[in-house]
Symmetry: C2
Subunit: 215 residues, 2 copies
Amino acid sequence: MPARKISDSTVRRLSHYLRILEVLEADGRTTVSSDDLAERGGMTPAQVRKDLSHFGSFGKRGLGYPVPVLRGRIADILGLGREWSVCLVGAGRLGAALYQYDGFRRQGFRFVAVFDNDPAKIGRRWGAVTIDDVADVARVAREREVEIGIVVTPAEGAQEAADRLAEAGVEAILNFAPRKLSVPPEVALRDVNLVIELEGLSFAVTHRGKILASR
Amino acid sequence: MPARKISDSTVRRLSHYLRILEVLEADGRTTVSSDDLAERGGMTPAQVRKDLSHFGSFGKRGLGYPVPVLRGRIADILGLGREWSVCLVGAGRLGAALYQYDGFRRQGFRFVAVFDNDPAKIGRRWGAVTIDDVADVARVAREREVEIGIVVTPAEGAQEAADRLAEAGVEAILNFAPRKLSVPPEVALRDVNLVIELEGLSFAVTHRGKILASR
DNA sequence: TATTGTGAAAGGGTTCACAGCG
DNA sequence: CGCTGTGAACCCTTTCACAATA
């Protein structure tokens, strides 16, 4: 559908719109204007309209956008009209938190495999899933048709995890390890680096007000 | 020091440079070129030089940048030349994972308070810290001079958590709750939304190759 | 009349290319 | 000679402003 490359920021905002629309729909709202959406999401109305216009014309002039229709369309655009098979490489505390995180389930992301390299963990069960050996990622992930892998290992094991996920034919990797991963071009990659987020705040606080004060 | 507003992307890359320089320094490397830094960080050499040039001239032409000096300067620029007092609002699984995360400690972020609204958790100890009632955030965070608050509550409690943190004089908030928070302008805010990251990958995989195929 | 959809303008980050310098 | 530092060019995203229209 999109005729041109869609920017990352636009995709992120689509997720935000979806979240807002879910609430509006639960409240029984039938229409919403770009002004209202922008207000609730902390963006500008023009941005909302421009973002949506990349995918079609969903609104009615003078009226706004139909809430349930738009919610459904954005979910489809984001690829949420189906379930996704996800695996976790790293069964530490962060992995456990993600595994149990309800927000993933709610959008159709299902964990079908969990891996770790700790012999004490391998063989243990997390709900319906048994923890497998990291050494078996390539085989098991392929068998279970994993589409998205989440890397939650320490920095050291992350590249190997990514290599094996790629080998298994996984289509996307979400990386929480604090290092740059190299993946084949056909694998989509996103990084979440928690330390970098805190450092960003540390920077902001440290330089608060100094920006104009310095000249 | 920065004469002009520094972009968010530049600040993020500074964190990346720091991570790389820490490794280089541990390896005993004394100098590094912008080419090398860029290569390791997945950026372009021009970007490395431009980023650094906002804060001064740290390199020697013909030689490159002195590793230990640059590492120290970037750490200072990011505000990491000191310890930061951090608190956690929400003592769930994700909160626990962050609390124990070694990467935070290593950069000088110290947890001095943890809050929850679950009576079963209040009063329990996490290492040296006793879990306090969310109702006491404003008082306790002020007493312990918390500078950065991390919100890891469900969406419902997040705005209240943010309000109380702001009331306590906290300077920055890192928000993991999946909703937009309103904070006073003097409070720095960053959002980490895990569902949005997965949805971004879902979008990428769903539209893989369709970008040019559609016209 | 209210609000969308969208070209055009503005803004801001990235890349280029080269002068400057160790 | 090699590599930095940086103004200028480029490119992409955001904002503006208004014609189109339910």
